[in-house]
Symmetry: C3
Subunit: 301 residues, 3 copies
């Protein structure tokens, strides 16, 4: 794999090639990426449906083709989450995808190619912001993982209070960054250690493992696996159980469990951005990205 | 549940309504609590039976009806433990309950209602002291969990070196504070993380989960489940295995595993007391407790 | 057991009686130890076989009878590892044993008896160095555990990226120091916590548990158990999968997972040596070692 060889540099970012990870599973990356390059649509990437009577919102990611985490996407997601967080009528959010076969393919590679350092920094800050908002949310957050969820998609899932995945054995979930020659940053790692423990994380991250739903259930990366057609119903039932707990007690408990991990990023945020920008703007990395994109164009043609 | 709603305030204490947790499982809280209110007995709440030849003591909690952790109870327990700790003839303690169906129902609500700040602080210091003595004991400590063990009862169990539970599926064990609108303090949380790991603790504490013996075994909250009639015999056999290990090596090893967690409380003890007192003496909380006790009286009548 | 009784002192070292642990399993310590005492062979204790085409080295420990970790052995091992680490042709190492039935019996007791403080300190520094080199290796390290692996042998295994053990139920693996009246140091403990978690480590270290291959697999102390005759082939296949991951991404990820644990020893290295030397050179401990060695000689006769 020429690219991964080209990418054997010290790096502190991740998910760079989130679509490539998708290609590993589905073999249709070039189509996906190029169609995305042409997609200038301003239609909403996030759809929010709040049930005022139950206090439960369903947040659907609907950014074709694979809910890549672009700056626009992340900005829209953060605004949606913030609105719900401020809305006293909303106590819980079910996060899912409207796109077939994929929850989210992770970070958008096009945000990292040919962009100014300022823009790259802005992008990275948005990735951090998404994580901070989701991992520290006061709402009950349940991921209804309706398709593959590599890299940044897996991270989003792990920030939730509870994870339910559709039982299709072709779907995968995991932080597969090393598989592509890149590295998950420390706060991705911390989130995974908190979810599945130190040794499982070590194996998963070093080998870039992508797990089937059953495997993910076994290691505790997801909490439940159900048939696709029961995914949303199960998430809704589960939410009811969580909402039976008094909000404030649950929120303080959640904060007690997660605050040390959140504080680590909060107090290293600028350094983390600086690291990312200095890596991603390197000539060698930009050259690798260029070659990769050219390769995709040729495949398409 | 009016109370849990009334209790949706920031709080740093736990087990406040330990009898209520018992009521959730057994539906007989009002009887229990009110009979306790009239109980001015000065009979020993703790019975200690030390076998001089084996070096093993059986410490039975015998405070009717549910071994609630009152200030008197905690004081007596700490004195008993201290005596055994100083007694060179004693190398191990089996901790169990003489009360039917319950190991301990946790903290005594009556210690927190209508008491002066000084008295509340004294109570909380006793709770800390119990934990410090048990989690840091030089003796081998085995919990023979002969009945339900919610909140503070679960904490006591978790401080032991080994936990054996009677296999009655109606018994439950867990830190169920959030279920009642309150929050386990950080050292309860730390003890549980050390026992079952981060993610299981997160789920257990956020949802206030009470586990059956089989479920507790599966997540590692207890180490063994046996028929009730074999509980003490199994604890005694297990103790023999532990006592085959040279005391000093075992003690240093135990200290190496637990000292960081113990140090966290030791160095934050006064702040932890202050937090508890300032919360519990709030008018809103005292009012909630009053309403709760009135409700119990009415039910009784 | 007179020795373990004599050894009930505060101590910060481990594996002192590694051969004794072997004796517990195999009942042939005296022969082993005394033949070793006469063994002045200068033949290589480590055999390295690097396949230039695959980039994989097989490092076989071949120090009769039980690959005890003497100063000479550790020095040779560290030199071999360093050479491989510097060799750009080498990307991965399979660590195994040429001795029948044993991977390594752990630290060599003869390095700790009748030696000057300077020599004891030199020995301990070599033990630290081995751990630092192995736990922090940039190469993929796979332990092919071909026999019993108590104390220091278990530690060596745990430093590797992946552990495969032969399925002979008579083989055991574990940090069994307490069983002998001594204590694993904090960095042994940290390595085990990173591998199997806090609670399993607490139980394992307090009781000095030695696990069968199946048991070790169940708690995650080894990753795979295969028939003895398939051990090396399986290790080789597994290595291929690991080498499919770009080196640099894997190395950074490994460092991210392990650096905090490594830093703890690095920044306490001299104090750790001082502790060890001051303990091991105590009259009482030297007397115990003397008695133990005399006992072995008598058994032999």
């Amino acid at each position: 794999m020429a690219l991964s060889s080209a990418l054997r540099h010290r790096c502190g970012f991740f998910g760079l090639l989130s679509q490539m990870s998708s290609s590993v599973s589905h073999g249709r990356v070039s189509t996906v990426l190029l169609s995305q390059m042409r997609n200038n649509s301003t239609s909403p990437k996030i759809k929010v449906d709040l049930n005022q009577s139950t206090g439960v919102a369903v947040l659907s990611m609907q950014s074709p083709p694979v809910n890549s985490l672009s700056l626009d996407f992340l900005t829209e997601l953060c605004i949606s989450l913030e609105k719900l967080e401020m809305d006293r009528a909303c106590r819980g959010v079910i996060i899912t995808s409207s796109q077939p076969k994929v929850f989210s393919a992770g970070l958008d590679i096009l945000e990292m190619y040919g962009k100014s350092p300022e823009r790259c920094g802005e992008f990275w800050r948005a990735v951090q912001e998404m994580w901070l908002k989701m991992y520290g949310s006061n709402m009950v957050t349940i991921a209804a993982i309706s398709g593959s969820s590599p890299a940044g998609g897996c991270l989003m899932s792990m920030t939730c209070d509870y994870r339910i995945m559709a039982d299709n054995p072709r779907y995968t979930i995991g932080l597969n960054e090393t598989l592509l020659g890149i590295v998950a940053p420390f706060w991705f790692k911390d989130t995974m250690v908190n979810t599945v423990g130190h040794r499982t994380t070590e194996l998963a991250l070093e080998l870039g493992l992508l797990y089937s739903p059953e495997e993910a259930l076994k290691i505790g990366l997801v909490d439940q696996v159900v048939p696709q057609e029961q995914l949303l119903a199960t998430a809704t039932e589960t939410m009811t159980k969580w909402l039976a707990i008094p909000d404030h007690a649950r929120q303080i408990t959640k904060s007690m469990m997660r605050k040390p991990t959140i504080d680590k990023l909060t107090s290293n945020r600028e350094a983390d951005i600086k690291n990312f920008v200095s890596f991603i703007t390197k000539d060698s990395i930009q050259k690798s990205l260029h070659m990769y994109l050219e390769m995709l164009k040729k495949r398409k043609a």
